[in-house]
Symmetry: C2
Subunit: 385 residues, 2 copies
């Protein structure tokens, strides 16, 4: 079959708008221009343009969802096990699109982009962005790609927030939605963790109100924010299995402040890796967008009302040990969808991986996704005939 071991090579693409045409309108009342969007595509758009699937990334993700950028590239995209020939998002069947969100730091316009008014990076002059703003920018990309309706829109975590927002803001452009390990609004506990992460960044002496240089970045603060995040992405059970109280060395335990416990070493490693690939100001803006996200706003605070214009079927997936985006939130969403007579399939996957499960429970989640996509394809083809 097509599932051979050959590396799938993919190139990032760029799309810009706002200079010769409409700038991006933002929820805060400001506009953004120029707007650059870095995106990747996989597979081919069919003649009927009916097989396009949009994948949306989480807080620290990027457009590189699968494959490799070159033959020598060592690490594949962030959801490589899910996207490719013969995989859940089967690139032999579907035209897959993934773009870096605005506010991000891996190609799309964000706080470190050049402010055309000053010729310098925006930094904290970057306008506040919302999940809806991200979606509005993606809609411009959709028009550019000449896709008029997505077969499906899928996202996990913050990607799921965007997927939900697509369903509400552009019901005519969405054939179906897959909302995975997500919520219609963060709990105060999650807002609190985000607050601590941002405090760590903004307290870092190198942050300098966001005006740090590329040589001297607020790495310590950003690493702390990442470490807090990582604790919330894992479950207590997963940490217990993965690390327990095991020490780094097997010699007699030395009591000191260095990273003696394996879980400490893990966190430090995650923090260090992260600062090499992510930007502190982007972290501030994106995490803030998550805090303020509330799908019910469209319905003046009434979630049922906000879903009134939604027509597309939903697949909603939660994971049993996810305490950051708990299943109670998914159930609330499903209830509101069904109150609106929307066809909502819900599955809580038994998993000990916590929130990270949406990146790790490949088999179970993959089957749900491929089945859902197949049924949506059948539905579309039936309507065409």
């Amino acid at each position: 079959m097509s599932n051979e071991k050959k590396k799938m090579i993919v190139k990032s693409k760029e799309f810009s708008f706002g200079t010769d045409n409409e700038p991006l309108e933002l929820d805060c009342g400001k506009t953004l221009a120029p707007v650059n969007i870095t995106y990747e595509t996989y597979g081919k758009l069919n003649q009927a343009k009916s097989n396009a699937v949009l994948i949306l990334h989480a807080l620290t993700g990027d457009a590189h969802v699968a494959g490799y950028h070159s033959e020598t590239d060592k690490k594949p995209g962030w959801w490589d096990e899910m996207v490719g020939a013969g995989k859940a998002f089967d690139t032999d069947k579907y035209f897959i699109v993934c773009s870096n969100i605005i506010g991000g730091c891996t190609g799309s316009t964000g706080p470190r982009s050049i402010n055309p008014e000053t010729g310098k990076p925006y930094n904290m002059d970057f306008p506040f962005i919302t999940i809806s703003d991200m979606v509005r920018a993606q809609h411009r990309l959709m028009q550019h790609l000449e896709v008029s309706r997505w077969l499906s829109i899928a996202g996990g975590s913050m990607g799921g927030m965007q997927a939900l927002q697509w369903g509400v803001d552009y019901p005519e452009a969405v054939n179906s939605v897959m909302a995975i390990a997500t919520t219609t609004r963060l709990s105060p506990q999650s807002i609190a963790f985000d607050w601590v992460g941002r405090e760590a960044i903004m307290s870092d002496a190198n942050w300098r109100n966001g005006e740090y240089t590329d040589d001297l970045e607020p790495d310590q603060g950003l690493a702390i924010a990442r470490m807090v995040g990582h604790i919330t992405y894992l479950s207590d059970e997963a940490m217990d299995k993965k690390f327990g109280r095991r020490l780094q060395t097997k010699t007699k335990q030395s009591i000191d402040f260095s990273r003696n416990f394996q879980v400490e070493s893990y966190l430090e490693y995650q923090g260090q890796q992260f600062v090499e690939r992510f930007d502190a100001n982007s972290y501030l803006y994106i995490s803030r967008a998550m805090d303020y996200y509330d799908l019910s706003k469209k319905g003046d605070g009434d979630l049922n009302k906000s879903l009134e214009k939604v027509t597309s079927p939903f697949l909603v997936v939660s994971f049993s040990s996810d305490w950051l985006f708990p299943k109670s939130h998914s159930k609330e969403l499903v209830k509101a969808l069904r109150n609106n007579n929307i066809d909502a399939t819900y599955c809580d996957i038994e998993s000990s991986y916590g929130h990270d499960a949406f990146l790790l429970e490949i088999d179970t989640l993959g089957k749900l996704i491929s089945g859902f996509l197949a049924s949506r394809t059948d539905e579309v083809n039936k309507n065409v005939k």
Copy 2:
């Protein structure tokens, strides 16, 4: 009755040792001298010296468990609702003792105390301390007070760890133990949160390897550590009830990075309050002692074995929504106690307050404690007769 509104005035007392007599032996192999212990007592020791109860404080607590230091003092001790005339720890009946742990910063010898070898504060030259070390110092205080056997030893959270350690290290000196919202060892998740807190302190430019001055302390780092702590002390449910997603102002929401959500304002307030009363180096040492605490060490890693010499009855209390010291840990302890034929009463109190419940569920917890103390008193009196 004696439960009138008159303020109970109490004075802190000091006890020093190690200069003219044995220094304090520490688990790390070093010794500590001089050792000062700040403590408070409430009620009177009876003639039979059979009514002494030791209360042990948590990570950021102190010796001031109840009452006021003066008539003008506004805030009572940290467990004032539990300790006093007619209260659960009834000062009309019991002689209550509470001391600040070594390593602390409210009177007892800790990292900011003067190192006699240098004439300067120890700071990071302070030896590593363990929960057993804290208990060993308390045992010296016990001898000083001429108490030969505690009617009961009670503690919540880290205080509970000390209470357990007392039962194991000095079984002959302990008539009963109350282990509340505690564990025989922290989970990797808790170790991870502690790690993040210490990273925040040690990353603060003002920390200067612990050599900060009183004018310029690592307040930002310590505040972040405290905020992380506070999130873990509350439950998701408690935060939802207390703050939800409510905003500080009732006007139209302004999206920015200031503390807009009530939960953010709460955290910031807690952080600010904390840095005024607590020391950063103490936080490092004490939280590290918690990480390394493992009651099973006494039994070479076997909890059952570590409890072999314990004879006193136990009251073990957990709280349903406490995810930092979850009930599964208490159940494990109770099982190990019962495996050793120790009389262990266990209660999981239904509460939405999370770990903080041990400070807040006064009525239910108070009844359990007063009942347990009464039954222990009866038992002691019966044996005397």
